[in-house]
């Protein structure tokens, strides 16, 4: 456990002493800001249209459903592009820099190496999600009125919890692809490919019928985010994300451990 934390600590230190992490955090926040701004614009237009038609419908409109729900879904999609960038060097760089030799000849078990790397990547993921909390905070501060909080924070909280679970699964997949090669760029592309396939499974579901539809929806990393983003904690989705994470970590462990047999 202490070895795991030592490795995670080293990863976090490297993330934040190099410029890459700040570029990643900055550009991620920028892209999400762009979506946020567009969603706020949409929301205003929807209000204007509703006022022209039937003002009694206004009660149905709220920032939680019309801004935060799509925003969290968008975060889930944008993470497909960003996660491989933060996970690509986790193991590939150790191989390229010949430092894997240090880790593998130190009194540290392979499982501690994998978990340490995973925790490091997860910390970076949480930092990225943390930055986007700025947007609901802006809504809270600027949208407050006598009628109470503009956001249903319980719902937003569940949404972010779901996004963190999705992020955890993404990081595990990214870590796995990073274990396969000593080239971070190849690791990133592979990770991106796998995440994209999971995403396509979800959009394929929308167009297909019956049994395929439920199967594809079940497999889609993004579809499982929907209920969370709506503020509903669904156990199957929770189990799904955790299973994907554990499975990808297990594969990573096998790859690292295989070093001993080659």
């Amino acid at each position: 456990m202490r070895n795991t934390l030592a490795i995670a600590g080293k990863e976090i230190r490297i993330y934040f002493t190099t410029a890459t992490s700040y570029v990643v955090l900055g550009s991620f926040a920028l892209i999400i800001a762009f979506f946020f701004q567009a969603l706020i614009g949409d929301f205003q237009r929807t209000i204007a249209q509703t006022l022209q038609m039937d003002a009694s419908w206004l009660e149905q409109l709220n920032l939680t459903d019309y801004v935060m729900y799509p925003l969290i879904m968008n975060i889930g999609v944008i993470l497909i592009f960003f996660t491989p960038i933060i996970t690509m060097r986790l193991l590939a760089d150790e191989k390229r820099g010949k430092t894997l030799e240090l880790l593998m000849t130190a009194p540290v078990r392979p499982v501690e190496i994998v978990l340490g790397k995973y925790l490091g990547g997860l910390a970076m993921m949480l930092a990225m999600l943390g930055v986007t909390l700025l947007f609901p905070l802006v809504v809270q501060l600027l949208g407050a009125s006598e009628t109470g909080s503009p956001l249903d924070w319980r719902s937003v909280g569940v949404g972010y919890f779901g996004a963190a679970l999705l992020g955890a699964a993404f990081v595990a997949i990214g870590l796995f692809t990073s274990s396969l090669t000593d080239n971070p760029v190849i690791a990133a592309l592979l990770g991106f490919l796998i995440l994209l396939m999971f995403y396509i499974a979800g959009s394929g579901a929308a167009g297909s019928e019956s049994i395929w539809k439920s199967l594809l929806e079940f497999l889609s990393l993004s579809s499982n985010l929907t209920s969370f983003a709506r503020g509903v904690l669904r156990t199957p989705s929770l189990v799904y994300y955790l299973s994907i994470s554990v499975f990808a970590l297990f594969l990573t462990y096998r790859v690292v451990e295989a070093q001993r047999w080659r």
Partner: protein
Amino acid sequence: MIKTVGLTKTYGDLDAIRDVSFEVEKGKIVGFLGPNGAGKSTTMKILTGFLPATRGTATVAGFDVFDDPMEVKRRVGYLPETPPVYPDLTVHEYLRFVGKLKGLRGDKLKSDIERVVNKLALADVVDRLIRNISKGYQQRTGFAQALLGNPDVLILDEPTVGMDPRQIGEVRGIIKELAGDHTVLLSTHILSEVVATCERVVIINKGKIIADDSLDALANKHGGGRDQLEKIFLNLTEA
């Protein structure tokens, strides 16, 4: 302390090493000499548990490197041929990290880092990023890492590569000091390195051991003094 029996490593059809058997007694420094590509690094990677052998066994301090890797790793300090350093950490951060991996904590970690920093004269660069220090300093940082935790056995793969003559002299001095308390296997392709630091030498060529003797005995056997060693080495490895 270190013992290999019939160690063989094959990559496909290629034998990296073949039937390598030798022994290093406790407290001795043994030179592991051979031209580039002779199989020195492969042997060392097997001894440290980084690579598995295709055949044969290797034991360190009585523990089999394949069956009891953790026990071996606890007792071995290893400097690979490329110093295993992280360019984005400072020397101090790096040594702290490795010290933690070796189970050092708190005051013990602090004092041990201080010890190796002084020993390898790293005090001037301790707060600099490793990417910004010279190759010689990087090599010394790698060496310092191997000494952390004061392991009984040191496996050093070309420890003076990339150093200037003064640094080479210093590092050889440090290696000599290790004798007695530590068992050292030192690989190099430079004969003078062995002459300066070791009493015994194991010579490997094309994956096979071709000589295993004290330097004096080796010189006598091939009819000459110590000054003839260079010639003997070249003759042996020519075949």
